[in-house]
């Protein structure tokens, strides 16, 4: 079960170094806190979630950066050479790390991330998920999002297209459920999505 899906910036420009921006996030359900008998206000919960997401995004950014450095790939590598260049999703840096209980989520979680050019995609998972499936799903989502939202075209505005992202998530990650989709199922869902979206 996926707890959170998020998209954030990787390696902001020099002027904004250290600023990691969350572009999109989606919580699939909330964490119950047995220690807090009193339900908190929605605003407090919202801020808490925002902090949690940002904490994850920052960690993903630094993990990605460290991995790129270790492989000797410069930061420039994250920028598309030209808009016609193929996006080599299978070559994109990806990895996983563990979040211990209480930091920032109450339960221990696993984060699977994928860095595509200047965007980071991440899934925050329950501790004992099928990581292979999660990795495959993340790549699939990244491909769909890049393709349908044309994220890498300079004029693309991801922030204004949350409904499209939700349309994709609702089909390929319904309520945070990782699905075993073979290629034909993926195509079926893509058609369904395209039909619903272009209508």
């Amino acid at each position: 079960m996926v707890h959170v899906f998020l998209i954030h910036t990787l390696r902001a420009t020099k002027a904004e170094e250290g600023l990691c921006r969350v572009l999109y996030s989606c919580f699939f359900g909330t964490e119950n806190s047995p220690n807090d008998p009193q339900p908190h206000g929605a605003e407090r919960d919202r801020l808490l979630r925002k902090e949690q997401i940002l904490a994850v995004a920052r960690q993903v950014e630094s993990m990605c950066q460290l991995q790129q450095q270790a492989c000797g790939r410069p930061a420039v590598d994250l920028q598309p050479q030209s808009s016609d260049d193929p996006v080599r999703l299978h070559e994109s840096p990806c990895g996983a790390f563990r979040l211990t209980a209480g930091d920032p989520f109450q339960e221990p979680r696993t984060v699977v991330w994928l860095g595509v050019l200047s965007l980071g995609f991440a899934l925050v998972l329950n501790a004992h998920e099928n990581l292979l499936l999660a990795e495959g799903t993340l790549r699939l989502l990244a491909r769909l999002l890049l393709e349908h939202l044309r994220l890498l075209v300079p004029t693309a505005n991801l922030l204004l297209r949350a409904d499209c992202i939700e349309g994709i998530l609702a089909r390929f990650l319904p309520h945070g459920q990782l699905l075993f989709l073979n290629d034909q199922f993926v195509q079926g869902l893509e058609k369904e999505f395209s039909a619903a979206w272009t209508r």
């Binding site: 499936l133 495959g136 309520h175």
Partner: protein
């Protein structure tokens, strides 16, 4: 931009409505279900009521209802949020239906609705039966691996049901308090059920929960069979290629994203992993499945271990044997041996596998039991993951170390931890030049006696494998060990031992580096004959490279760093033994001095990966010491203390590494002495050598000098003699003179004041124990005081530091004026640390402390300036 996030989060946190769009024959229309899910705010009551509503919808529909598949994930979510959301009756009913969906989905493809053009009416066309992954007509029931062009609703439900199966089995399991009757029944019926369930005719009589387990079991068996089918037949890889080509052709215009590898499950072990995990759950919940599962999992393991593309599926298999090996009386040693000896050595460069492997070790710790020894002796192999992927794995290893540390291997482990950056560099070298090294490793001096080979020279191997065509747009290989297209092949006959082996050096079209593939009937054992049969057989083993090829097209090392000298080093006969030791798979029980390697690997010390690893080592060392001090006896503590001294100036030279390590070592040396105080007396000779020898950093020296002052005393060890004290005094006196007054060159850094003050204090302590030395130390201290008053002339540090030295010298001088008080203050008896000495104002200690501080303050007040 951050507002976007905020706005979005706000949207999510509020009462977001999820709309289900369901397809129907007439097109796509929005269904009416609006489910309030995200506004839950953790309110269990709301989750339950939501669960009830969804269940009602589910129950009210026919099994073929068009939108059921959208509701199943909601049910899954609800049960994960509130396990008690569904009544027992509902759980049973749903279990029954899940079983049906899993097992009895249609094996005919869905109906294709072609509009038939502008004029004709829509017409339906049956597409025939679904097919297996290899294109053959399905031989058995539908699974997530069955393919077709269109799918029916129950096939979608099949996919949904399998996706949520494991979580459902775990969540819906009757808990201890939930339904005790179910447990009792299962125990009673245990023996008969296994007979019953073997016959499918009787299985519909089973209670729903067991029905579901039975169907889940059949489903997993079928998945195993299907994945086996794929591995056996070549046709499927062709299918894979065909699908890729079709997709690429179909969307030629739409960026080259279309050239991405298959996103679906073909050729991916995801399903296999899940099937094994589900089988594991089933066997845990109902041991009667065990005997039916074991044989196929053994066969599966045998099949998987030979194929690097499926390596990640080996972890759940091993986990299964960990859970059930004992119950089934299976000796799973071979499974663990293979897991720990080969996988880390060959796949250390895969970040995901490394993470999963370490997670597996961490999560399975309580289960290892008598097999913990295998895990412990495999630490050199496990550290390869750490050395290569230190940023994400450091915290996991910090958690893992207490279980890995064992009195028998602690010394070896500490050596390896200190050599971790060097290991990173060696692994880098191994990956870079694996194909070349194979050639070199096969050169006659390295072959075991009795082996001979006829190989082309390294040069010919290199030159004979350029990419046959330079086109950069090669088809990527993704999650698969499929041979690269059009391999360029050099077949070599290698007479090794009993049989011939076939070495194939292939090159993918894009790779700038030669990729080697080993096709050897036996487990590859080229290269250096290892000392243990289970150890990673060679540095130059191509299998690491082969798995690399399967995982990624880009090299995981820094291509900008070129270190041709290192390759030569790798082939140097003296260094080979050391490399072999460093890259060993298991604890060898021996320790090698790797100093020659540090020099050879120096060109790689600047690699970012090596530096990252070096940054992680201090944290790991702290974790190691906090674990080892729990188990160390006196002998081990002495051994470790000596090791600290020895290694403090014998480290791989990575920028900033030595300073970081010294900080940890200096804090750990006193801790080890405290653990076993007599070690100072026992190893007086080594300590004297250390303080008299060449030194690099001040940290370790400070702590060693402090420990000498603290523990070189009769009260800690009766064997301490006056002669020993005098010897140390002389050595330290010389050292103090050296650091303060004789600085051979002004370019050398000034001695830190901590070293000077600790030296003075230690000398005073020693003098208080051998009172003949008091006049000598008094003279020395007054000299130090006067030296500190005119810092410009000597090698004394700045004014502030000189002030500290001056104050300390004055205090010590004052104390020495009353030798008996000095002795009490400097060598307190062990009981002094007991609480009563500090609570009771009438006992001697507070009294003495007051007296002393009065004395010290008074004298300090009289100081000039």
């Amino acid at each position: 931009m951050s507002q976007g996030c905020e706005a979005d989060s706000g949207h999510r946190a509020g009462a977001a409505l999820v709309t289900f769009r369901t397809p129907d024959p007439g097109g796509v229309r929005d269904a009416q279900e609006h489910v309030l899910l995200w506004g839950l705010q953790g309110d269990q009551q709301q989750v339950r009521s939501l669960g009830q509503r969804v269940l009602k919808v589910l129950e009210s529909r026919q099994p073929e209802g068009p939108s059921l598949r959208h509701l199943l994930p909601v049910v899954s979510k609800v049960t994960s949020l509130a396990p008690d959301a569904l009544h027992e009756e509902q759980t049973r009913a749903l279990s029954k239906r899940l079983g049906d969906w899993l097992r009895y989905a249609s094996v005919q493809q869905g109906v294709a609705h072609s509009s038939g053009g502008f004029f004709s009416t829509p017409r339906a066309r049956q597409l025939g039966p679904v097919t297996e992954v290899d294109g053959a007509v399905a031989t058995d029931f539908f699974t997530v691996l069955s393919t077709g062009q269109r799918f029916t609703e129950d096939q979608w439900l099949n996919v949904q049901a399998f996706s949520m199966l494991r979580a459902w089995l775990l969540d819906s399991e009757p808990g201890g308090s939930g339904a005790p009757d179910a447990d009792d029944k299962s125990e009673l019926e245990g023996s008969t059920r296994s007979v019953l369930s073997a016959t499918s005719t009787a299985s519909h009589l089973l209670p729903p929960q067991e029905w579901l387990r039975e169907k889940a079991f059949e489903y997993c068996q079928r998945l195993l069979e299907q994945s086996n089918r794929r591995a056996l037949r070549k046709a499927d890889s062709d299918l894979q290629k065909a699908v890729s080509a079709r997709r690429a052709g179909g969307r030629a215009g739409a960026r080259s994203l279309a050239q991405l590898p298959l996103s679906g499950l073909l050729g991916s072990p995801q399903c296999l992993v899940e099937a094994v995990l589900v089988l594991d759950v089933l066997c845990r919940q109902d041991p009667s499945f065990l005997y039916r599962t074991l044989s196929c999992l053994k066969a599966l393991h045998t099949r998987l271990r030979g194929d690097p593309a499926w390596v990640r599926a080996l972890l759940p298999v091993a986990q299964f044997f960990l859970h059930h090996g004992e119950a089934a009386a299976v000796d799973a040693d071979a499974v663990y041996q293979h897991l720990f000896s080969r996988i880390p050595a060959e796949h250390f460069h895969s970040p995901m596998l490394a993470f999963e492997f370490v997670q597996f070790c961490r999560d399975s710790l309580p289960l290892f039991g008598r097999n913990l020894g295998v895990l412990r002796t495999s630490f050199p192999n496990l550290f390869k993951f750490l050395a290569w992927n230190s940023p994400p794995l450091t915290s996991d290893f910090v958690a893992l170390l207490p279980s890995l540390v064992d009195a028998g291997t602690a010394v070896e482990m500490l050596h390896l931890l200190l050599d971790l950056p060097c290991l990173t560099a060696a692994l880098d070298l191994q990956l870079r030049w694996a194909p070349l090294l194979t050639a070199s490793a096969l050169s006659p001096p390295l072959l075991a006696p009795g082996r001979s080979c006829s190989l082309p020279s390294r040069a010919s191997l290199c030159t004979s494998s350029p990419p046959p065509d330079g086109s950069p747009g090669a088809q990527p290989v993704f999650h698969s060990a499929v041979q690269p297209p059009r391999p360029f092949r050099v077949s070599l006959q290698l007479l090794a031992g009993s049989g011939h082996r076939d070495v194939t050096v292939t090159s993918t079209l894009v790779s700038p580096w030669p990729v080697g593939t080993v096709r050897a009937g036996a487990e590859s054992s080229f290269g250096w004959p290892g000392p243990e049969p289970t150890s990673e057989p060679s540095l130059g083993s191509l299998s690491a490279h082969r798995s690399l090829q399967a995982a990624s097209e880009r090299p995981p090392w820094d291509v900008s760093i070129r270190a041709p000298g290192c390759l030569e080093a790798f082939r140097d006969s003296q260094a080979q033994g050391l490399f072999q030791h460093l890259l060993r798979a298991q604890a060898s029980g021996t320790v090698e001095r790797l100093t020659p390697l540090y020099r050879l690997l120096q060109p790689l010390a600047g690699c970012a990966r090596v530096v990252q690893c070096a940054e992680a080592v201090p944290t790991l060392l702290r974790a190691f010491f906090s674990a080892v001090t729990q188990i160390a006896d006196g002998a081990l503590a002495s051994q470790l203390a000596l090791l600290l001294l020895e290694r403090s100036d014998s480290l791989y030279q990575v920028p900033g590494y030595e300073a970081g390590v010294h900080r940890v070592l200096s804090s750990q040396f006193p801790a080890l002495c405290k653990l076993h105080p007599p070690l100072v007396v026992e190893h007086a000779k080594e300590l004297l050598e250390f303080v008299g020898g060449p030194r690099s950093g001040g940290h370790v020296l400070t702590s060693v000098v402090w420990a000498i002052g603290e523990y070189l005393s009769v009260s800690w060890d009766r064997r301490c003699t006056v002669e020993q004290i005098n010897n140390f005094f002389e050595a330290l006196e010389a050292l103090l003179f050296e650091v303060t007054q004789s600085r051979p060159s002004t370019t050398l850094p000034k001695c830190p004041p901590q070293v000077i003050t600790v030296l003075m204090t230690t000398l005073t302590k020693l003098a208080s124990r051998s009172q003949d030395l008091i006049p000598r130390v008094s003279l020395l201290l007054s000299k130090m005081r006067s030296l500190a008053q005119s810092p410009a002339t000597g090698s004394m540090p700045g004014e502030e530091d000189a002030g500290a030295v001056r104050t300390r010298a004055t205090e010590l001088l004052n104390l020495l004026k009353m030798p008996s008080v000095a002795q009490f203050v400097f060598t307190p008896s062990v009981e002094v640390s007991e609480p009563r000495y500090h609570r009771d104002t009438n006992t001697a200690l507070p009294l003495v402390l007051r007296t002393v501080s009065r004395l010290v303050e008074r004298e300090a007040g009289l100081l000039p300036g």
